[in-house]
């Protein structure tokens, strides 16, 4: 039982880190991704190329490497070099990475909307911003919730990557306790913690999905 006296408080502290990385990434990335998705749809070729390159880099390199680059490597860049704190680096890397993935999901969602919907808003004289927020986006959200859900669940598990910067999340807490007591039990314990978080997320996503069931 001594193992749990160490494991539970450490897991609790780790859980705070896991959940804060998860929540801040989600809250910032989603609106940012809507904005980037609109930029990617721009007719300006420079804006299009810039957003495409950003998405390519973010999706084409591991999140672990991005974390390391922003924390260890960024201050070596001449002129703009700046040394981020651990948490700044974590939030920046997660937000940049997940914004790229969410952007592609939202772009895909926008492309599923019938062109007639855009044309109807134009014929009626709606502005582009009003048409997007009131007519297009609600339909996009309904279409992308399943894919968004997958990405949100992946985000919960990806938070374990913060260990590389020496920050203790729930997985690192389990590792510390496992090393102290030479037992695998802490890992099994945190596996259930992850499953619990995922179960809550799945339920929330299902209820959001069913809220959109009122129309077809």
């Amino acid at each position: 039982m001594k193992i749990f006296e160490m494991l539970i408080p450490m897991t609790w502290e780790g859980l705070k880190v896991t959940m804060s990385v998860f929540a801040i990434t989600l809250i910032v990335s989603l609106p940012l991704a809507i904005f980037v998705a609109l930029l990617k749809g721009s007719k300006n070729k420079y804006i299009y190329k810039f957003t495409s390159a950003y998405i390519y880099v973010m999706r084409g390199t591991p999140l672990l490497l991005q974390l390391m680059f922003i924390f260890f490597g960024f201050h070596y860049i001449p002129v703009i070099g700046y040394a981020f704190t651990r948490y700044q680096a974590i939030y920046i890397a997660f937000i940049l990475n997940y914004t790229a993935y969410f952007t592609e999901i939202i772009r895909g969602g926008i492309n599923t909307i019938d062109i007639g919907q855009f044309e109807a808003t134009k014929v009626l004289g709606m502005s582009k911003s009003f048409a997007f927020t009131r007519i297009i986006l609600p339909q996009v959200m309904k279409n992308i919730i399943p894919s968004l859900g997958n990405e949100i669940i992946t985000l919960v598990k990806d938070t374990s990557l913060v260990y590389i910067l020496g920050v203790t999340d729930i997985l690192k807490a389990a590792k510390s306790v496992s090393n102290t007591y030479s037992t695998f039990t802490p890992y099994i314990f945190v596996a259930f913690v992850y499953l619990g978080i995922i179960a809550i997320m799945t339920n929330i996503l299902s209820s959001i999905e069913s809220k959109f069931d009122y129309y077809r």
Binding site: A120, G125, Y215
Partner: protein, 218 residues
């Protein structure tokens, strides 16, 4: 007053859809444009509603050239379009489909917008559908909601793209009397159709679009 189209032309690349078309539709009258598939009837309506840019020419509504209209928000009060597949907003109720644009454009206060929507729905005999979503409606009901949505902005000209293509005989007749009613209220109506019986029934003038030119039929 009404619609005056002068010498409009439209091409897609090297393909000329129509060439120097000119016609007029007076307020209160109905023009039907017939033609085979692919002759450019829908493109003509899209040009009138500024969904496509004409290569040249002018489109006047009540004396104002809408091609030079700077404020895009005014387009809906000049000319409206009832799409072939209606393009209702699926996530909004019938009532919301009708009220969202006038409320956004602030053309009158919210109470008046609601009253007007109810009045139009009643005149189209779908007042009991106001809280329904488009997927819960039949084709004819969706058509009427689309007409109601366009009428909310009081357009001087209302265009219909193949209004009877997906409707049975009875519903077509109902739509026909609705369109005649709108003309009687002073709207200039343009109907694009390949339904000859329907166009003979409702039109004051029939033009046939063929090889990029409009020929008078009646």
């Amino acid at each position: 007053m009404g619609l005056v189209v002068e010498n409009i032309s439209k091409s897609f690349g090297k393909i000329k859809v129509f060439d120097h078309l000119s016609f007029e539709v007076d307020a209160g009258s109905i023009l039907c444009v017939e033609g085979k598939s692919g002759e450019g009837k829908t493109t003509l309506l899209r040009c009138l509603n500024k969904l496509e840019q004409v290569d040249e020419g002018s489109i006047f509504i009540d004396g104002e050239n809408i091609l030079q209209l700077k404020d895009a928000r005014k387009i809906g009060s000049k000319i409206g379009l009832v799409f072939q597949n209606y393009n209702l907003f699926p996530h909004l109720t019938v009532m919301e489909n009708l009220t969202i644009t006038p409320n956004y454009l602030k053309i009158m206060n919210k109470e008046d917008v609601n009253l007007k929507a109810k009045k139009i729905l009643k005149s189209l005999e779908i007042e009991d559908k106001e809280n329904m979503y488009p997927y819960q409606l039949s084709g004819g009901q969706k058509q009427r909601v689309a007409i109601a949505r366009a009428c909310m902005l009081n357009p001087a000209v209302l265009c219909f793209d193949e209004p009877t293509s997906a409707l049975d005989e009875d519903t077509s007749q109902k739509i026909s009397s609705i369109i005649k009613n709108l003309a009687n209220q002073g709207m200039a109506i343009i109907v694009v159709t390949h339904d000859i019986k329907f166009s003979r029934d409702i039109s004051d003038l029939i033009l046939k679009l063929e090889d990029g030119k409009l020929n008078r039929m009646q």
